[in-house]
Symmetry: C2
Subunit: 379 residues, 2 copies
């Protein structure tokens, strides 16, 4: 009872009503975190994507291609800032996530830079107050549970205060970016159409997940019954433009590795294939700016043989005797490419086993996704 | 000779001096493109990171943690816009890359928004002109080589015009972001401290590489001689917070997969390990916003056994009998986690072989990096 009163006080003081949090205990379903929650790092990094949608006030907020909207905790915190009654400033529309974070609704940002600046400042003040209250409550509960009572920490309605803020700004509101930066936000990630900014409230290094750092490349090794390998010559201005090599490319958004390899081979050469196994991958750093990439080499079986090249990217494609491919002076000097071809040939001749892809469900995040492992596992 | 005159005309008209391009033919060294240049997609995506630095006008431009500065083509294009002599507008300082792209120097952007706007507009006009001239020259050379002469396409000093523009804006110049967006730039990627914007000149879908889409997670399976596995219980607000599981985390920037696994285990539990093999990985999509991640499970051999937990992230850690780990009801219901543990135990009992990491040099990009493949390869 003492707890409840304390919570309500905090609640009124900050101008928020957190009564709903008290009334709606956190879902205990298994979907609250991801497979990677096999251990720590992962949970923090799958932020915004893993909460139950059962408490959604609105389940259909039309965010830009984002998956997390259906998974946020669902408590809108849009409310008047009653701490300064003489000037009524609307707070930003936002939701809590399950990781002590706040997701600001990008679809309801004030249109004018001025209004945004006022609302952002007021909202920041409130979120910072929530953080302080969270700290007070944790301390208080500690006394209760260790000194007088048996209030389990997990039952606290506000175990921790707000820590991380997420602000997505769409392309057409770019004038809000400098305002957010000025108020202390930093860039987190961006792609065509939006930039995501974050703010870390505690006076300590940010625990928010880093921005994506890798692109995933795929290469297809396709051999026909005459020991001819499907090779392409690229239209590129670099030194290897005259070189015959395997078809490769980057996977599309949310595309699986083996699906990407099949697609790239089809796009570049017109040849249909099926996936046999993933034979190897290369991890390279500082490839584009500060980023890294992983290139997965897939053994694919041809289902068709006629070649139709993608004239935009490919200069030529053909079936080339494997010995001729390896015989190119370049392959003799390039240890990485030579090893890849060696491995592929071993796999073709059944002297090597790579990884297959097996679709499995994870109870932790409820996702059906692929686990790649060695098919020759005798278990 | 006709070619040369045409080039010089174009040069003078656009206010640029491309004489240096003519005098300094493109390096034909093998470092011009990346390993992935095994096939097409890769080349376009390793943009900005792969050019020879031999022609650098300045080799020490202090860009924010970026690797590409030492690899750009090195022709500064800062020059007065002589097309409007009545109002002398400075162009943005920039370099050409080897992929028909232009990298704008983030360290020399005009400080005032007004000056930036003028310089950006003028520069855009010039780059667009260069693109048009490039097209004209390609056509012209085609006539020459097919109709009258034998001018090989590769010898052309300006085979193609400028296509992609790269503009990195650091945190303290955020007021320039809306201006760039207004002039037609779009977000490409961002991380703490900067946002990168791009502009695609041709009237066709952009061929620029996509922004990074993946985070790379690692998990460590560490078993001692008593068949006890090193497990942790995380401090997380999610449903699996009470679960004993493998130590996991995300790799740091430019960190290798196995190095990251060793580091995470050390940080979370204090236990020193060495890498044995990579047993499996999971590819999951829509994990954080629209991003995906790859979780690599590494078999590590313990070198020490005393446990010291990272109190910030870990609630508890211990050596737990493997049967007890698997016996947790959760593992029986979670097909993904169960399969991972099964594979790890098979590897421990020598009934399974995963991938080892072998450091190799690629002649294509000159990088020394790791190729992961099955060590039981009999080749």
């Amino acid at each position: 009872m003492v707890m409840m009163a304390a919570v309500m006080d905090a609640c009124q003081w900050s101008g928020f009503c957190i009564q709903r949090l008290i009334e709606q205990p956190r879902s205990s379903g298994a979907k609250d975190c991801s497979f990677q929650c096999l251990s720590k790092g992962f949970l923090q990094k799958s932020i915004l994507s893993t909460t139950s949608s059962t408490q959604l006030k609105s389940s259909t907020v039309p965010l830009h291609g984002s998956s997390y909207v259906h998974k946020k905790k669902g408590m809108h915190v849009l409310s008047p800032n009653i701490s300064s009654p003489s000037m009524r400033v609307e707070l930003l529309d936002a939701w809590d996530d399950d990781y002590d974070g706040v997701i600001i609704n990008p679809e309801s940002l004030p249109l004018s830079a001025n209004a945004f600046e006022l609302a952002l400042r007021a909202s920041l003040s409130n979120w910072k107050l929530k953080f302080q209250h969270g700290l007070v409550l944790v301390l208080f509960s500690h006394i209760l549970s260790h000194g007088f009572g048996i209030v389990p920490l997990a039952m606290l309605p506000m175990k921790q205060g707000k820590k991380g803020l997420w602000l997505k700004i769409l392309l057409d509101q770019a004038d809000l970016v400098p305002i957010a930066i000025q108020e202390g936000f930093n860039y987190h990630q961006a792609e065509s159409g939006y930039v995501m900014l974050t703010y870390w409230i505690p006076n300590e290094p940010s625990m928010l997940p880093a921005s994506p750092s890798h692109q995933i490349g795929v290469g297809g090794f396709v051999l026909n019954d005459k020991r001819e390998v499907l090779v392409v010559k690229e239209k590129c201005p670099c030194s290897c433009s005259g070189l015959w090599k395997l078809p490769t490319g980057y996977i599309n958004k949310s595309e699986d590795v083996f699906t990407g390899a099949i697609r790239e081979v089809k796009e570049e050469t017109g040849v249909d294939t099926i996936f046999l196994e993933l034979v190897a991958f290369r991890h390279a750093h500082l490839v584009a700016f500060e980023n890294s990439d992983l290139l997965f080499v897939c053994m694919l079986k041809p289902l068709s043989f006629e070649i139709t090249i993608d004239e935009k990217e490919i200069q030529a494609a053909k079936w080339m005797p494997i010995d001729e491919l390896i015989g190119q002076p370049f392959y003799q000097e390039d240890h990485m490419s030579k090893k890849v071809i060696d491995i592929c040939m071993s796999a073709y001749e059944d002297r090597y086993s790579g990884f297959i892809a097996n679709q499995l469900t994870s109870k932790i995040d409820g996702k059906l996704s692929y686990l790649y492992y060695n098919y020759s596992n005798k278990n």
